[in-house]
Structures are given as C-alpha cells and as structure tokens.
C-alpha cells in the first residue's frame, strides 16, 4: 500500500459536508489549483471535485411498473406512444429502452431516416409529465383474464419508473472521420466525405471517469447527479474494460471504463433527460451525469487536475474501417486539439464538432458543487470499487 501524506476518509468528508464546511471545486477549477499549489497542498485544501457530462447515451432505459388493471391482466406486450417496450418481466412491469423506434417508422428506407420518435422521447415525455398512450396485450390466464387495454397515463400514474442505464459515461471515446467519398450518417453524427470534418463525444477534462482514471473512488453505491436529481452507480457498465493503453497520468487513450447508473425517473427533470433523433442512425437519449470525486489523498488531487491537453483519444475512419470492424487508429489526438476547433490529419486541417455538451457538463459540475456545499448531497461510499487495473 502506498503511503500518503494526506489521508481522508469518505466519513470525514461527509462530516464536513454535513456541517457546510467541505471545500468543493469543479474539475475545471481543480486544474489551476493543482498547477499553482501542487497536489499535496491541493489535497489538504480541497475535499471534493465535481465532474459532469451530458451527451446522447445509448444503453439507457426505464423499468416501469404501471400497476394492476381491473380486470387484471398479464401484459406480455407493451407499447408507450406506440414505441414497443419489453414486457417479458412480470405481469405489469416493462422496460422501455432508449433506442427503440416507434412502430411503423420508415427507418432508413428513405436514407437518411429522421427517427423523429422513439424510446428516448417516451422517456423525455414521461419526465416532462406529458400524457402517454399505454397499450397492453396479454394472452389471458385464470388469474389475469384481460387481454387488451389502452389508456392514457402520465408518470404520476405509475407505481415505479426507475431509470436503469446499463452503460453510461464512457471513460473515453473515439474521434470519428469519414475517408470515403460520400457523406455518412452515423451515431457519431453527420460525417462529410474525404475527412471534411471530425466529431468526438466526451466532455474531456470535466468528464467523470477521466478524473478518476483507475476508478479508485467510484463503485457500487457511489451517489451521483443523474438526470437532475441524485442517482447511484449500480455496477460497472457493460463493455467496461480497464485493460487499455494509458498515458503516464493513468488516463486511458481509448474507450475504457463505463458505469451502470440507477435513479428514480419520477424525480428527474426534462432538462437533463432529453430524447435524441440521430439522423440516419436512430433514437437515443441525452443523459446528464455528474460524479463527485472525494480527494482522499494527494494522488486523487493529481488525478482530478487532469486537463484536456493530457487526455488523448484515437481517430477512426467511420467511412470504411469502422463499419468493417477494422480497428486502425489514424492518429492519437488530445482533447485540447479537438476542442480548439480543428485537428490536423495527414497534413489536412479538419474542423471538429463535439456531440457532448461542454456547456451542460459545466452546469452539472456546478450544480453538484452547490448541492454538496449546501450539505444536501452526501458522498456515497462504494460497497465495492469498479474493476480496475492495479497501479
């Protein structure tokens, strides 16, 4: 075990938060603090660093229990505003996934499809309190005789609506270009031919898992900002992979860690849970997430001071390579360069565009900071840390 000069526990920090004495800064503010004072001094002063990310996050969805009807029904097929939900859970439970498309959508038959409505929009409509048409079909049993039902509901009529996202807040993600000769429509946005633009999708230095690259403080039970209210890390996310190339600062240079998140949709706000229609690709859900990182020691102060210039990702060709499963990085690029508005690739200057809102990420980090300063948000000590690489 490494010996530290500063040793704080979750309990001690929470005690400070309760008394309104915790010193909280955002991940952006932390960069300067560590640069000026050094990690040791910063660790003594700062208790919590807040982070944020707001981007379309597929692999999101909601467990819904819509309550029993009279006569009772075992609903095996469920639609919300004509978007199919998965009903094979229990009599009146279902799961509506963010990327499910409304029934009858022309999809990509006229390319690029518009994907105007789907699961992500149902979830946004739920959060906004809008009326939703619930349609149920069952096959009838002795205990649950009803076979068909349609009614209007809002989120307030539901017994439970639990946001449970199997994979959110990717620790890093590709930068996409298109080397083919035609415009392509991808989950990385509209990519113009012959590398005319590049897109990327993380909030860089503000992004939660960049600020705790080895997930030393994040695990099952970590309390987080989720959709405008408090939520939790439920598990490591699907595709979570800590065994990737890293920089000297420990930060992964490609997609790595992910988290599964859980929270009460009924308490969330439509500002932070927004349906997304991705041209030519499909439907998704913008999710706002922020994780508070406790500064337990000088290492955590160092990690949370990471800035865009020291965070790298890989550029991939989504025109030919990516769709064919060819993993060939065209170049390594820093988030500082990506956020400058242009990157250089093969001697060519390429304009960049983010898909993840830095503005909203800042707002999340600041909101979380406020909550903690006010003492209304305590840190959740993880019951188990996410799987990680040893340091």
């Amino acid at each position: 075990m490494k010996k530290f000069k500063v040793n704080k526990t979750f309990k001690e920090i929470n005690e400070k938060i309760r008394h309104g004495k915790a010193v909280v800064v955002t991940a952006e503010e932390m960069i300067d603090i560590v640069e000026k004072k050094g990690a040791l001094e910063a660790a003594r002063k700062i208790d919590v660093v807040t982070t944020g990310t707001f981007a379309p996050m597929c692999s999101s969805g909601v467990f819904i229990n819509f309550g029993h009807t009279s006569p009772r029904m075992r609903a095996s097929r469920v639609w919300l505003n004509d978007v199919p939900a998965y009903g094979g859970i229990a009599a009146v439970d279902c799961y509506i996934g963010a990327t499910e498309v409304v029934e009858g959508d022309p999809l990509n038959s006229v390319h690029p499809g518009e994907f105007n409505y789907g699961g992500g929009h149902v979830i946004e409509d739920l959060v906004a309190g809008n009326v939703i048409r619930l349609r149920l079909e069952g096959y009838g049993t002795d205990c649950y005789p009803a076979r068909k039902l349609e009614k209007n509901i809002t989120i307030h009529d539901l017994r439970n609506a639990i946001l449970l996202n199997p994979r959110n807040a990717y620790q890093n993600y590709n930068c996409a270009v298109n080397m083919s000769d035609k415009t392509i429509y991808t989950y990385m946005g509209v990519l113009r031919p012959r590398m005319a633009n590049a897109t990327y999708s993380t909030s860089g230095q503000l992004s939660p898992l960049f600020n705790d690259p080895y997930c030393k403080t994040i695990g099952i039970g970590t309390r987080i900002f989720l959709g405008g209210t408090k939520g939790y890390v439920a598990w490591h996310g699907t595709q979570h992979n800590p065994h990737v190339p890293r920089g000297k600062n420990g930060v992964p240079k490609e997609g790595a860690g992910t988290i599964a998140t859980i929270g009460n949709l009924i308490e969330m706000s439509p500002k932070w849970i927004v349906g997304a229609s991705i041209l030519g690709y499909g439907v998704s859900l913008y999710v706002g997430i922020g994780i508070p990182i406790p500064i337990l020691n000088e290492d955590m102060a160092q990690y949370t001071s990471v800035s865009d210039k020291d965070i790298y990702t890989q550029v991939f060709d989504y025109g030919v390579d990516y769709p064919n499963g060819v993993v060939k990085s065209l170049r390594e690029v820093s988030y500082k360069e990506l956020r400058s508005g242009t990157i250089t690739l093969n001697g060519k200057k390429i304009p960049t565009a983010p898909l993840s809102s830095y503005y909203r990420a800042m707002e999340i980090a600041n909101t979380l900071k406020e909550w903690i300063e006010k003492g209304t948000f305590l840190l959740g000590e993880p019951q188990e840390i996410l799987p990680s690489e040893k340091t």
């Binding site: 707001f54 897109t199 508005g341 565009a353």
Partner: protein, 136 residues
C-alpha cells in the same frame, strides 16, 4: 457592398415575369440562388442572396413588393429554439455556413441568422430538434 438573404414568395399569376432578371438589370444586384421551389399550383419560393449597394438593394426590394411578390428576410424564418437546444455542438459538423457556432467563452452554441442560407439541414440533423425553419 451590402448583402442580404431574402425569401421571395410568388404566386401563379406572376410566375412568368422575369423578376430576378429585372433585379439584375435595373437595380444592379448580383444574386445567388440558395433555394428554389415550385409547388403544384405553380406558386413557389426563391431564397436569394442579393448583393449590391444598400440603395439599390432597398430599391430592388421596393420593386419586388410593387410587383406583388412577398419578400422577407430569410433570418426571420429560421430560429434556434433555445428551450430545446442542449448546446451539444453536433450542428458544427453539418452547418456549412458557420451560422451555428460555439461561443468559446461560454461554450454555448449560438445562432447567427445573418449567416444562415436556409439549407434546412439542421431541421433533421439536430438531435434535439432545436432548429425551426418555416420558409412558407
């Protein structure tokens, strides 16, 4: 040089009049056709970028109005719904005029209606459906 993008709505009865030709000849305005649409009943619209002196531009617009066509600035018909915009920045990838841009200071995505050419790409390419365009 003065340059403005305008929408010209015309009706079936004046569709054969050489209005754009007159703008060039009589008012010395250069034009760039950004969009032209003819509807089934032969009414239609033209989106033009008109370039000339301010005086000639104003005279040209007066001429158009007198000839019975409806003219309005394109910028009146394209709006960024600030309640829907999430400032993701995805539009920077497809808005080729720079009308949608990131304000580096606040990191908000802003809309400069004067730069917009009414291509309408953002209507379906903005994932949050924040761009509203109604040319008719």
């Amino acid at each position: 040089m003065y340059s403005r993008k305008v929408i010209i709505h015309y009706t079936a009865d004046i569709v054969d009049q050489p209005i754009v030709h007159r703008l060039v000849k009589d008012y010395d305005l250069a034009f760039n056709i950004l969009k032209a649409r003819i509807l089934p009943k032969r009414e239609g619209l033209l989106v033009l970028d008109l370039v000339g002196t301010k005086e000639n531009f104003d005279r040209g617009i007066r001429y158009l109005k007198k000839s019975g066509v409806k003219v309005e600035p394109l910028s009146d018909r394209v709006t960024q719904n600030t309640d829907r915009c999430v400032h993701c920045g995805a539009c920077i990838a497809f808005c080729s005029t720079g009308a949608l841009y990131i304000d580096k200071k606040t990191m908000m995505v802003l809309f400069d209606a004067e730069k917009c050419n009414g291509c309408e790409l953002c209507v379906t390419a903005c994932p949050a459906r924040a761009m509203e365009i109604d040319l008719f």
